[in-house]
């Protein structure tokens, strides 16, 4: 695989699936610092399979996927959580801190309160610092997503990956999440990979889009690929020329 040294995530001719059967194939993608890449497509087309493959949760059936050495910040869908965990907002955010298995280093950091201060900054960033002692389970859907975003930031990532971050949240909450993402991308040069079924959102935010349908992936410029005319053709299963 010819590698792009600046790439945070790179896939070449990758195919992903289950039980040896490919669900999506022909995936070519390079995510560089500052890029904002969307993954879209009809329901059941394999968006989640592609997403899981790119994150390393599925081994590629063909081709290769390379993730850079930098930490990745991950924001899953909020529905996956179990209310049996009595976690506070602050505790959820701390779970995202980079692992320090070397005890002395970890102890030293704890003594210096460095991690605590950074967690406060992350919560501040998403506008939830005043809720830090609230039970995570008591928050609204949009607030939970923002807490999970703060948790992802705790890893000091160069690449943020988000799975349907605005799914099931109200418009104001979705706007707040998008505002934070834009800010992170603009001010810190964070790359963002986002899977969403909300096409207007992707068209407004993303620079490039991977369109997944019937096991194939089309990669192109977001504005061109997600224009109303292109979408008509994409939903009809046609190929659209929209170079990224």
């Amino acid at each position: 695989m010819s590698t792009d040294e600046a790439a945070l995530l790179e896939a070449r001719g990758a195919a992903f699936g289950y039980g040896g059967r490919a669900i999506v194939q022909g995936v070519d993608l390079v995510v560089r610092p500052g890029a904002l890449v969307g993954i879209a497509g009809p329901n059941g087309a394999g968006k989640t399979t592609l997403f899981r493959g790119l994150l390393g949760l599925l081994k590629p059936l063909a081709g290769e996927v390379r993730r850079g050495p930098h930490p990745i910040g991950y924001v899953p869908q909020r529905e996956v959580y179990d209310a049996v965990f009595p976690l506070t907002v602050e505790e959820v955010v701390h779970l995202g801190a980079a692992p320090h298995f070397r005890g002395v280093q970890r102890f030293w950091r704890a003594l210096g309160h460095e991690e605590h201060e950074f967690a406060c900054r992350c919560l501040d960033r998403v506008g939830l610092h005043d809720q830090r002692r609230a039970p995570f389970a008591s928050l609204s859907g949009g607030q939970r997503q923002r807490v999970l975003l703060a948790r992802a930031l705790m890893a000091r990532p160069r690449l943020l990956v988000l799975d349907e971050p605005t799914s099931g949240v109200d418009r104001a909450a979705a706007a707040k999440i998008l505002e934070v993402l834009r800010d992170l991308q603009a001010r810190e040069g964070l790359a963002v990979l986002i899977v969403s079924h909300e096409l207007p959102l992707l068209r407004a935010m993303a620079q490039e889009v991977l369109w997944v349908a019937e096991g194939r992936v089309q990669h192109g410029d977001a504005e061109a690929l997600l224009s109303p005319e292109s979408l008509d053709r994409l939903f009809a299963g046609e190929t659209v020329e929209a170079h990224a």
Binding site: L57, V84, L87, E91, A97
Partner: protein, 295 residues
Amino acid sequence: MNDLAWHEFVELFGPAIVAALVAGAVAPLVGNFLFLRRTGFYGVALPQFAAAGVAFGFAVLPLWSAYVGLGHLDEAEISSGSHAALNYHLLWASLFTFGGLAALALLGRKGRGSEAARVAAAFSIASAVTILAAHESPAGEVFVHSLLRGEILLVGVHELEILAGVYGLVLLALVVFQRELVLVAFDREAALVTRRPVLLLEALLLNLVGATVSTGVMIVGPVVLFGLLVVPPLAARGLARSMKGYFWWSATVGLAAAVAGVALSYRLDWPLGPAVVVAAAAWLPPSWLVDRWRG
């Protein structure tokens, strides 16, 4: 009512009382992870595996004596509280506990049936093996019966040393890896994406559970261990407002149950093991009330 004066009771049963306190403080912390991972049934099934191991050890004792040898221990002394006897029982308890855990983990990975059904089946098999193996050895039957009744008062200094050593290591591992273990239980996928060594952490937790159960069953008995793995975490969940609070409440309930159990055992001449469990269960109604009141 006990005939002994309190100071005589403490002097005579000092190691047993300390063992109850150690188990009361540490076993609930391991139980917290079983509860959070919704594998609380393990807290019931695994001690039964350990008991089955001990009974099996008695059943194969003649063969073991003939082919492996027992050092200075003869068959007549196998029910004694000697170091060699304890080590022999611990060996079998550990083999069955870790074997049972590995089998459950393997079947879980292959996704055979529901977890509750697998654990229930494992419990019933372990119970049957316990009874059948004990039936093969009259000495084993008496020993296992005493073990199941939870006669912690027979704990000596050597048993206490082993319990304190193993539970000390378990506590240390839980403190050092608490965050990673919580993350893996709470959001396994995020742990994988962020490159935590998930399989190693899961193996670590299984080993901590196995060590806690096999040592605990032999020294404080399965009844106490059932109780301490399951009841304090359940009570603590209603009282805690944070994960940190959950761990503190769980250890506090376990420790308080051990203290109250000792007092009940002294005052009412009850077996210490069941007394500890009853004392732990007394926390459940207030916990539910607090939980309901908070909404």
